[in-house]
Structure formats: C-alpha cells, structure tokens
C-alpha cells in the first residue's frame, strides 16, 4: 500500500492543495484558458449577467469577468510569491545575522523588528505606497516592508535554539567557517517555521495587495487585479452584484487555501507548535 504524506490525510488540506494547484494552472496558462482578452471592451455587451457566452458575466465596459479573473490569478500569485520571497529572504538574513552576532548588533536589530511590528501593517503599507506613488510594484515593496520583521524574529529564535546543539558545536570545533555553519547546518534546520509562516503570508500578501488596490494605492485600472475588479464593481453592488462577487470569492478561496495549507504544514512539520485540533 502506498503511504500517503501526512498532510494529505486531512480532506481540507487536499481541497486546499487542489485549489492552489488550480490557481497556479490559471496563472501559468491564462492566455490559453481565458476565453476572451481580459482588456477587450465590448460596449454592446455591458453588465451582462452570467451566461453561456460569458460564464461569470461582463463588467461595466463589457469585459469578460471570467477572463479577467483568470489573468488576475497570475497577478495575485506573483504578488504572493514576490512578497514572501523579498520579506522571507531579507527577514531571515537579518534574523540569522542578529542571532549569530549576538550582543549589541542583536539588540539593535531586534528593537528594529519591534518597531516594524508595532505599525498596523496596512497603514504603514499605505504610507509607503503613497510616498512611492501608487503602482503594483510599489504595493509589493510596501507589503514586503511590513512583512519581513516576523521572519527576522522567527529565524533568530530558531538559530538561538539550534546553535547550542552538539552538531553545531562539532562543526565549529573542526574549524568550519561561520558562513558555512549558517548555510549548511543552521538554516536547513530552522526552515520549518519559516515555511509555515510563508504559507500564511502568501494569503496575507494577496489580501493586502487587493486592499491597497481597492483604495487606489496598488494596481491601477484597467489591470485585471482582483482588488481593482472589486473596486470597479462597487457602484453596481445593488444592481449587478456579480461584478464584485466573483473576484471576492477568488480572493477568499485563494487566501483560504494558503491558510489551510499553513495549518496543515504546521501540524506536519512542527509537532511542538501543533495546536490541539
């Protein structure tokens, strides 16, 4: 009998992984899967309800909502990946340096993370995105800037608990360089909580970017970004609710899947952190 990976034992995890895979396929194959050009306006077909020709209806400029959603998956997944990569790499680096250096450097870097953690993320992101100018790239930079501190703290915490382990002492005693100890011995063992956090942050980044776009600080129209689409449907919520309904559901399912995956990874990778459920 084939042994199933522990994360696949929970039905909810399977659904989440399947959904993430579906979003990834949409993102990769958007030009093949989308029935229409996401930017093509057909003014004669404005505000049409879902039909055979337009599965999810059309928006106020006659653009096909399904096609825009599919292209939107591409944007949202890229946002998630880039934010997590930027914040994860920078934060982990800061945390490892702080933990390894110790002393004054550690103290200073940790106070810095405290400052970043004190900001309500969206307000800081808004200030940064507003200062840099509203665009998707700046929104990504802003979200990464409010996300990295968690990784710094996690990586440092892991490092401090690992550095006294015998295999690290052994490596040090035979003259392995600090950089090599960090890269070969400490990082691989510290990675589990970082991965869990990354899964949650994929979802958080997608929601934050959509929120910034919604209030005008992120992606700009006519970009088929999900937050932009919700914003464009805002004035039609009482008459043509599908304009905002579908992009919102897309965000809900995408973010929900990453949150479930995060929970699942936590249960599998880190038994110490396992919640009682």
């Amino acid at each position: 009998m084939v042994r199933r990976s522990p994360i696949l034992r929970e039905p909810l995890n399977i659904i989440a992984i399947a959904l993430i895979a579906a979003f990834a396929v949409c993102a990769l194959l958007a030009p093949v899967l989308a029935p229409y050009d996401p930017l093509a306006q057909t003014l004669s077909a404005r505000l049409e309800p879902p039909s055979a020709a337009h599965w999810l209806g059309t928006d106020s400029l006659g653009r096909d909502i399904a096609s825009r959603l599919i292209y939107g998956a591409r944007i949202s997944l890229v946002i998630g990946v880039v934010v997590v990569a930027l914040a994860g790499i920078f934060g982990t680096f800061v945390g490892l340096v702080a933990g390894y250096a110790g002393g004054l450097a550690d103290e200073a870097l940790m106070r810095l993370t405290e400052v970043f953690l004190a900001f309500p993320p969206l307000i800081l992101a808004m200030a940064i995105a507003g200062a840099l100018g509203p665009s998707l790239t700046n929104a990504i930079i802003a979200i990464a800037a409010v996300t990295w501190a968690v990784y710094a703290r996690l990586a440092r915490g892991q490092l401090l608990s690992l550095r006294r382990r015998e295999y690290v002492e052994a490596a040090r005693s035979i003259g392995v360089s600090p950089a090599r100890i960090l890269a070969r011995h400490l990082l691989p063992n510290a990675i589990a909580p970082l991965l869990i956090q990354a899964s949650f942050d994929m979802g958080a980044a997608i929601i934050a970017a959509a929120g910034l776009s919604f209030i005008g600080f992120g992606a700009q129209p006519p970009t088929p970004e999900w937050g932009v689409m919700i914003s464009e449907g805002r004035n039609f919520i009482s008459t043509q609710p599908w304009l905002s309904l579908f992009p919102g559901l897309a965000i809900l399912f995408a973010v929900g899947s990453f949150n479930v995956l995060g929970d699942g990874l936590r249960d599998v990778l880190d038994p110490r952190l396992r919640r009682a459920n």
Binding site: R111, L112, E114, V115, F116, A118, F119, P120, P121, L122, I123, L124, M126, A127, I128, A129, G130, A131, L132, G133, G203, I207, A210, G211, F214, I215, G216, F217, G227, I230, G233, R234, I237, S238, P241, S244, L245, P247, G248, I251, L252, V255, G256, N259, V260, R275, A276, N277
Partner: protein
C-alpha cells in the same frame, strides 16, 4: 512594588519603540520621490510659491534638522499642520480618532460575544457537525477580504433588506449629541438623547459586523484550541470524578483557565482592527482615522500621514500593555512567580 517596576519597564520599552516609529515614518514621508509641494499647490505653481511652501513646512532644511524640529514638536504636543485640511494635525486626529475607537470597540465587543461561546461550543463538540461549521466559518473569517465583505454586507443589509443604513455615523436629520467623549453612543447616553442613540447604534451594526468578523475568527480559533487543551487536563477529570455537573465543569473550571491565551489574542487583534478600520471606513463612509489616513496619503499630506501612523503605532503596544496588566491580575502565578 514588583508591579510598578514591571509597568515602568514596559512604558520605557514603548517609548523606545515610539522613537523608532517616528524615525521610520519620518524617513518614509521625507525621502519620497514625489514632491509634496507640487502635490499641494498643483502643477501650475510658480517657483516662488513652491519655495514659499517649502519654507513654510521647513522642507528646505536638512533632514536631521527637520526631524529634530518634528520630534521636539511631538514632545510639546504639536504634530504640525496638515497640508490638506490646513488645520493642526492633532485637532484632526482628535476629531477622527473617537469615530474609529467607537467602531473598533464595538467590533471587538461583537467578536468576544460571538467568538468565545463559538470556540467553547466547537471544543465541546469536537469532530462533530457544530465543530465543523464553526471551524469553517472561522477559516473564512481569516481569509475574507474585509472590503469585499463590507460591500456584500451593504448589498444585503442596506440594498436588499433595507434594515440598516449604508454608511455614515448618524442620520443626516438627527443632530449628533454634544461632544463629550466623541463616541456617539456614549455621548447620546450622557445627553439622554434617544434619537441620537438609536441612530448611531443602527449605523454601527453593519461596519462593526464587517470589521469584527476577522477578530471573531481569531478569538474563536484561540478559544477552541485552549479549551481543548484545558479539557484534557487532570483537574478536569478530577472535577468530573467529584460529580460536578458538565455545565459547571465547562464554565467554571475549563473556560476560566482557557481564557488566558484568549485575552492575549484579544490585545493582539486590536492592532489588526486598526488596519481593518482603514478599509471598513472607506466602504461605510465612516469619518474616522482610516478615512483620514487614506485621504492624507493620496494627497501626500506628510504631516497628517506621520500623525496617523504615530497614533496607530502607539495603540498596539498600549493594547499589549493593557493585556499584560489584565494577565497579571487574571493569573496569580505571574504575580507570585
């Protein structure tokens, strides 16, 4: 005495964080590519006008000097003058903060009233239908875009059912109560104004439900998992062996201990409520800090943006301090340990 020392240490820590916060917000709003003078005066401003504007806001001085002036102002209760509203930022904040506070408190109250019982219920029925439903709703609460939820809630509660107003703090034909605290519900109670009370309560329903869903989800999850942990403890078995009724066991013995981590999470959620308030206020035309922040950031009104970020950033450590004090009082082991 031990408590005073603990309090003092925490306050010093908060002060240190606030210095860092002010440096970072200052850096963000002053090392920006966009020119606030052009943003405020428009593209057609003459060079003299721009120079005069820069001199008025001291933008022509070296950065360090600007920061020292600013920090000195903060210590004297002066957050500068807003470029957009032309009023003192402190006055603007004093006007808009109570609206946000009223909304956030109501949302938090709803979250506790719903989240704690839901978590307990879910834990008692672990693995069965009620548990499944509660967990699914909590999962959705942690994954739903709040601005979208707000639109859906307005679509249902205002457009479809017509039960609740779709935005604002009070009906246009109802005069707001005389300002005492700035919280309309409290002020109308003080003034004994039932019209204002009813109207402001009705206006709170949809935005508070929207803003509160996320924190409800967090509180539910936390209560559920700590209840499960407590229910498995030896003293629970002892309580059962003593023949206590299940109600007493759950409410008196389990919940009381399970609430400690929940209190922590409630404090932590307060910071996220402020972030959520930005979007909720935009949707519900709620004249609070979030709307002020958005309008200020759009118009590159850096004194206002700085003021909002500072205020927002102090709320979170303060909420944590309150949590620690409650903790201290709730858990005797911390006092005597």
């Amino acid at each position: 005495m031990r408590f005073l020392g603990f309090l003092l240490r925490r306050i010093v820590g908060i002060a240190a964080v606030m210095i860092g916060v002010s440096v970072i917000t200052f850096a963000i709003s002053h090392v920006i590519p966009a020119d606030p003078a052009v943003a405020a005066l428009g593209d057609h401003a003459t060079d003299e006008q721009i120079a005069a504007f820069r001199a008025e806001y001291k933008l022509d001085r070296p950065l360090v000097e600007q920061y020292v002036t600013y920090a000195n102002g903060i210590l004297h209760g002066d957050l500068g003058r807003s470029i957009r509203t032309r009023r003192a930022v402190l006055d603007d904040l004093a006007d808009s903060f109570p609206a946000t506070l009223e909304l956030s408190f109501t949302a938090l109250l709803v979250s506790m009233l719903v989240g704690i019982p839901a978590g307990v219920w879910s834990a008692i029925y672990r693995g069965r239908m009620p548990d499944f439903v509660v967990r699914l709703l909590a999962l959705a609460g942690g994954s739903i875009p709040i601005f979208w939820l707000g639109l859906i809630v307005i679509g249902l509660g205002y457009y479809q059912l017509g039960w609740f107003p779709g935005g604002g703090r009070i009906d246009t034909f109802v005069p707001p109560p005389p300002t005492r605290t700035g919280l309309y519900v409290v002020d109308s109670l003080i003034a004994g104004d039932l019209d204002a009370l009813g109207s402001s309560l009705l206006h709170l329903v949809l935005p508070a439900l929207t803003l509160g869903y996320f924190s409800t989800a967090v509180i539910t999850r936390m209560t559920r998992s700590s209840m499960l942990e407590v229910l498995g403890q030896d003293y629970m078995r002892t309580a059962r062996a003593k023949g206590l009724r299940e109600r007493v066991i759950v409410l008196r013995h389990a919940l009381r201990n399970a609430l400690i981590p929940t209190v922590t999470i409630i404090g932590l959620t307060f910071g996220s409520l402020l972030s959520g308030a930005v979007l909720t206020e935009t949707i519900f035309s709620w004249p609070g800090l979030g709307r002020y922040a958005t309008a200020s950031a759009v118009s590159l009104d850096f004194p206002a943006v700085l003021g909002v970020t500072l205020l927002a950033a102090i709320v979170y450590p303060l909420a944590n301090l309150v949590v620690d004090v409650v903790y201290y009082w709730l858990d005797p082991r911390i006092q005597h340990g």
